[in-house]
């Protein structure tokens, strides 16, 4: 988009630097809303997609074609991705932040970036839901309608230029997610998850809208740009109302991104909600919440930076620390991933805490790569758990390396990615985020982030190790390991096997002793002790149960999603295009 004055409607021009409208439309009595239609395409695509699915479901017989609803949803998602990319191209080179639809929406790089992200999540989410819903006997148009409207809400949150629009997006997103969480009709946990999410979500929404109201009360504007220009022009004599409003808004959005201490809902909901929806939710709700938070804090309230940065600091620290530590003691895979995603949110908050353009770009990169990792992971969990989500415990992955090596390999990459091991996108994500706070001299936060990553590596690698345990352990059954640890704790369990094997007296003469010794250094029971370190006795037994005997069946669409997620995780970790793309986000407000 070039600078200067251009025509928006017949006889009406707008200057895109000053935003001044001139021409016929300024005539008395004329109400003109400037609309930049390209900015609205994602809404048309997603909303239109939802409507098409609804209408078709009313017209077509009950079970028309297998995969039709998922296909339509994937199409809408692809449309959103394409449109996001087109928007990005159009916006290249523009240095201002154009607002559209009566100043309610931004049309900028960040919006386009997040539109792509949500489109990707929709495509992947719909593709993995198809097989799952088929298996659970829940196939139908409803979840896809909900998913599309949820994505619409998410795009709205990322594009919002004011608190009302943000709230509108938040509610569209939230209500869809409540229903999706409760969607598994014959699984009580799902209903409970939906209800808990709904009640706590409503509380959070109330807090958010109250905060928006307070900010309006203090500044007289609901638009970010209005707020910031008011604060730039006026020095508030008493800013208590404004600060209070800011805190309430942070809490409301902090709930959505599941930052500690507003995270309580997430383990219960992640555990109960249908698995593919959880993957979708973890990606979309988090990204949308952060997009909103980024805009509010960086765009509307930059003048309060010295106040909100410590708050975010606390949220980030708590999330990283508690997310990691609590994930350590989980034996339910989905619960563990819930805490892991809390800790991942902590890293995003670290990037946000930097309060710089570099931080914002780091956050965008982090969220984009996390989308692939989390959806891929939940896709795998979804196929492993079996019909009726029978097995969600850690031991469901036991021996996966021998049962289904490809799936185990994919899971390994995704686990390494989330743990932030080099050559994966997770490593680069953590790197850029920590680099951003280091740029601000926040050494403590960087240190906390790195220590948190070290703790987190443990529970991710635990999953990886369990996958490589033998499905059954004839010499040391699960019960044996439990007895061992119950009497002596993990240290004793390891030491018990260690010294006698490693001591000089037992090594055989000749080179062969070396091999045998190395083989014995980590015998099956030792490995089990390592795998279950930190768990309580009862949980150990759970984590070491034999895996289900059923064959793992991976639907084609799910397999494709997993493959793409894995490839992307490696691709974005070893090459630069994705990182460069995130770094190219033009951020006019930070200038």
């Amino acid at each position: 988009m070039s600078g200067g004055t251009y025509l928006v409607a017949a006889g009406c021009t707008i200057n895109d630097i000053t935003g001044k409208i001139s021409g016929l439309c300024t005539a008395k009595g004329s109400i003109h809303i400037s609309i930049n239609y390209p900015a609205l395409v994602p809404f048309f695509v997603l909303g239109g997609g939802a409507l098409v699915v609804l209408l078709l479901s009313a017209v077509l017989p009950k079970r028309p074609y297998r995969g039709l609803w998922a296909g339509l949803t994937v199409a809408a998602g692809v449309g959103t991705v394409v449109d996001g990319l087109v928007q990005w191209q159009q916006l290249n080179g523009s240095s201002v932040t154009p607002v559209t639809l009566g100043d309610q929406l931004f049309y900028d790089h960040m919006g386009a970036f997040f539109a792509v992200l949500f489109g990707v999540a929709t495509v992947a989410g719909a593709a993995i839901s198809d097989g799952y819903l088929e298996r659970e006997g829940l196939d139908g148009p409803e979840p896809y309608v909900l998913m599309l409207s949820c994505s619409l809400g998410a795009v709205l949150m990322a594009d919002a230029a004011g608190f009302v629009t943000l709230f509108l997006g938040l509610e569209i997103l939230s209500i869809s997610l409540y229903a999706m969480s409760a969607y598994h009709r014959w699984r009580a946990a799902s209903g409970e998850a939906g209800l808990k999410y709904l009640i706590l979500g409503s509380l959070a929404s109330a807090i958010f809208i109250y905060g928006a109201a307070l900010i309006y009360g203090a500044t007289g504007s609901l638009q970010y740009l209005g707020v910031v220009s008011f604060l730039a022009d006026n020095a508030l004599f008493q800013n208590g109302v404004l600060l209070g409003g800011m805190v309430l808004v942070i809490v409301g959005l902090g709930f959505k991104v599941a930052a500690v201490p507003f995270h309580f809902w997430s383990p219960d909901v992640y555990q109960g909600a249908p698995t593919p929806f959880v993957g979708y939710m973890a990606a979309v709700a988090k990204a949308a919440g952060f997009a909103g938070l980024l805009r509010v804090l960086m765009l509307a309230l930059p003048t309060l930076e010295s106040t909100w940065r410590p708050i975010i600091w606390v949220l980030a620290t708590l999330s990283v620390v508690f997310g990691s530590i609590l994930a350590l003691v989980q034996v339910d895979l989905k619960r563990m991933l819930a805490y892991s995603s809390i800790s991942q949110a902590g890293y995003v908050l670290i990037g946000l805490q930097a309060g710089t353009a570099q931080g914002v770009r780091a956050v965008a990169f982090y969220l984009f790569t996390y989308t692939f990792m989390v959806i891929g992971t939940f896709a795998i969990v979804g196929v492993l758990q079996g019909r009726g989500e029978a097995r969600n415990d850690l031991s469901a992955v036991r021996g996966l390396a021998s049962r289904s090596p490809w799936l185990a390999g994919a899971m390994l990459v995704l686990m390494l990615g989330q743990a932030g091991i080099p050559l994966t996108s997770g490593f680069l994500g953590k790197w850029v985020v920590i680099e951003a706070v280091l740029g601000q001299g926040q050494y403590e936060l960087a240190l906390i982030g790195m220590l948190g990553a070290a703790v987190a590596a443990f529970f991710y690698l635990r999953v990886a190790l369990i996958m490589f345990l033998a499905p059954e352990s004839p010499g040391a059954p699960a019960g044996g390991a439990v007895t061992l640890s119950a009497t002596g704790g993990p240290g004793a369990a390891t030491a018990g096997g260690g010294p006698s094997d490693g001591g000089p007296e037992s090594s055989e003469p000749g080179d062969s002793g070396w091999a045998a010794g190395a083989g014995r250094a980590y015998s099956g029971s030792d490995l089990q002790a390592i795998v279950t370190a930190g768990l309580s006795a009862r949980d150990r037994a759970l984590a070491l149960r034999p895996p289900p005997h059923t064959r793992v069946r991976v639907p084609a669409a799910t397999a494709a999603v997993i493959a793409v997620c894995v490839v992307f995780t490696v691709f974005a970790g070893v090459s630069t295009p994705v990182l460069s793309w995130a770094h190219a986000i033009a951020l006019p407000w930070s200038a």
Partner: protein
């Protein structure tokens, strides 16, 4: 057209991936053909790249192709890319060429092996890693290839891992190489510390518009002599490990436990020459490190001589060739030490041809004799295996340095430059040349002439029924493997291979195995032609390589001196040849096989007694004290504390909404309380 270099690397990777995923389904022989075509395609791509390079003027033949940049943040730019220049191109051409031939040979050799597809997975992966090693444009990427070839070597030595000897040999190779790799790694750190980059072009200089830049141009004071010496010595430590020189050569002999095509490809022609390549690559650094040059030349000479003496007493046909490889690699290092890199590479090329030929010939013999590797139990094979005899004979004359075979020219060139450096080293080198001719003639004598001793040794072959299957491969032969192994004088066998289908007498192998022999024999005859330094303008290789070795020491000997030296060395060789052939028509000459030589100067035993034993004890003690007490204790302690705190904190997660709401409320109130202190500020 230079972009064909991408294809050179990509094809083996593709072949590797295909065989990894579909190998089992492709089965035999399709998996082998996939691998072979990947290698051959890579060779064609190398030729295309080479022709494209020849089209440019001599000084402009450098191209850098970027693959990707990793971590473009905080000053650490790791550009991964390919560097195509005369040096890497020379390496690539012979690596892909020899490798294609050996891939083809392996199809026949690995026939009916249960691990057929796995073999080609490794083989393609090896080729890929080797190409990465020589084509990489920086030290780190090269190191990746360096480790990659090491890993494949490990996997292929231990290919028949069910046999303990093979598994132990694989481990020995791996660990010995680690010692060298430490040197390589520290060198990389030093280089980064001094130059702030790992790219060859920024560290070593490059050619810009036909003129050398940076270190290559001899930028004054670019690097202190001590730093250059330290870096090159550390790199040479890596080279010693990889190229099996004194004192890290032991692994190469044990590596003969691997299938014979592997011995030919990895442990004779390509991987073991990586050290020579590395030292030639850092030639601009060596120019500032005279001490290192001396170390290289001395170690090379010592290895050449020592290994040749041992080779003269070995019974195992492959071990004999392995010691010969160590000896010939010594010659290459002599040339590098003397600053005559081009002739070092020249000898590397010709050696690749004739040594691969000898190994493949040995493989055909072993195959024909139902896995007998003991030369004392061979003899008189010339009558039964004419093609093998002729091709092996060509290899024998080539390595013995007989005019006009390839080995003569390259060894001559190497010894000329050594003469110029130091007369004593030359003397040892010339004597070793004679020794080489002797032990190779001994081998030829034992294997091809005299009595057919294999009739008693392998009754199965003679059709007399299996009274004592002593040297016949198979599980029963393995039983005595481990204890005999330490003495290094038993006949290792290659079980896993079925006895040849024909029950009768040994004969030449199938065409997939014979064609490579013929091709390599032709190369061993004509290979010398790539660099006739003796006759005016036929020194193609020298001229091709000279732009990137601006500091190579020029040979200033007069023609008369050259001729004299050649004739002296040739006389040594003929003497050794005649003596060897005459003596070894019969198998028993104990006086010529002193025990200390048969046991390789007791070096293996010394290492086992002085290093391995105490080291093992120390490692065990460390494992006990450090690892299980300190490290494990700490890790477990942290794990326990974290787990405990997690279990305490999780009690907050009651499952009741009211608790959750209180949590949210508490957080909200805490933050509100905080901002009340900031009101007005």
């Amino acid at each position: 057209m230079v972009n064909a270099a991408y294809v050179i690397v990509a094809l083996p990777l593709l072949g590797f991936a295909l065989n990894l995923v579909f190998g089992r389904r492709l089965g035999e022989p399709l998996a082998g053909w996939v691998g072979t075509f990947a290698a051959a395609g890579s060779f064609v791509a190398s030729l295309i790249t080479w022709v494209a390079m020849l089209g440019k003027p001599a000084g402009m033949r450098v191209a850098s192709l970027n693959i990707f940049t990793w971590v473009p943040v905080a000053g650490l730019h790791v550009n991964t890319g390919l560097l195509v220049d005369p040096l890497s191109l020379t390496m690539v051409l012979f690596v892909t060429g020899v490798s294609s031939v050996i891939h083809l040979y392996s199809i026949g050799y690995m026939h009916r092996d249960p691990g057929f597809d796995r073999f080609f997975v490794y083989l393609n992966l090896f080729l890929f890693s080797m190409l990465v090693l020589v084509l990489a444009n920086n030290f780190l990427f090269s190191f990746l290839g360096w480790e990659g070839v090491g890993f494949c070597s490990y996997g292929l030595i231990g290919f028949w891992f069910q046999r303990e000897v093979a598994a132990v040999a694989a481990k020995k190779a791996f660990i010995t190489n680690r010692v060298g790799d430490v040197g390589f790694l520290i060198a990389i750190f030093l280089i980064f510390d001094h130059f702030g980059s790992l790219n060859y072009s920024s560290v070593l200089g490059t050619l810009v518009g036909g003129h050398p830049t940076g270190l290559m141009a001899g930028a004054a004071g670019a690097i202190p002599g001590s730093t250059a010496t330290a870096i090159t010595l550390l790199l040479f430590l890596g080279a010693i490990g990889k190229s099996a020189q004194i004192p890290l050569y032991i692994w190469l002999v044990d590596a003969m436990e691997g299938p014979t095509p592997i011995s030919a490809l990895i442990h004779a022609a390509t991987m073991v020459t990586a050290g020579v390549y590395l030292m030639s690559r850092v030639a601009p650094l060596l120019h500032y490190a005279h001490a290192t040059s001396w170390v290289i030349a001395s170690v090379g000479t010592g290895s050449a001589f020592l290994a040749a003496t041992i080779a003269a007493t070995q019974d195992d046909i492959k071990k004999c060739l392995a010691y010969s490889t160590i000896s010939q690699l010594g010659y290459m290092f002599m040339a590098v030490g003397a600053g005559d890199y081009a002739d070092g590479l020249y000898h590397m090329l010709t050696h690749a041809f004739f040594k691969a030929l000898l190994f493949l010939g040995a493989g055909a013999i072993i195959h024909a004799l139902a896995d007998n590797q003991d030369m004392k139990k061979m003899g008189g094979l010339a009558r039964y295996m004419p093609l093998t005899t002729v091709t092996f004979g060509v290899g024998w004359l080539a390595i013995s340095g007989i005019v006009p075979f390839a080995g003569f020219w390259s060894k001559d060139a190497v010894l000329d430059s050594v003469w110029q450096m130091n007369k004593v080293l030359w003397g040892i080198g010339a004597f070793t040349a004679g020794l080489t001719a002797y032990y190779m003639s001994r081998q030829v004598g034992l294997v091809f002439t005299g009595q057919a001793r294999w009739r008693e040794a392998s009754p199965a072959l003679a059709g007399a029924g299996g009274a004592s299957g002593h040297a016949v491969g198979g599980p029963e032969a393995r039983a005595h493997g481990p204890e005999a192994h330490g003495r290094g004088e038993h006949e290792a066998t290659e079980p896993g291979l079925p006895a040849p289908p024909h029950g009768g007498e040994p004969k030449d192998a199938t065409w997939t195995m014979s064609l490579p022999l013929v091709l390599l024999a032709i190369a061993s005859v004509l290979g010398g032609g790539i660099n006739f330094t003796a006759f005016g303008h036929f020194d193609f290789l020298n001229r091709f390589l000279s732009p990137i070795f601006p500091y190579a020491t020029p040979i200033t000997l007069s023609t008369a001196t050259k001729w004299t030296l050649s004739l002296v060395v040739l006389a040594f060789c003929l003497l050794g040849l005649g003596f060897g052939l005459r003596t070894w028509r019969t198998a028993e000459h104990p006086a010529l096989e002193p025990v200390f030589l048969r046991r390789a100067w007791y070096w293996d035993a010394t290492v086992a007694a002085t290093v391995s034993g105490p080291l093992r004890a120390a490692a065990a003690a460390l494992a006990f004290v450090m690892d299980s007490r300190l490290v494990d204790g700490f890790v477990n302690g942290v794990g326990t504390v974290l787990g405990l705190s997690g279990r305490v904190v999780r009690r907050v997660q009651t499952g009741y909404l009211r608790t959750y709401a209180i949590g949210i409320g508490a957080g909200l109130i805490a933050f509100l309380a905080y901002v009340t202190f900031r009101v007005g500020s």
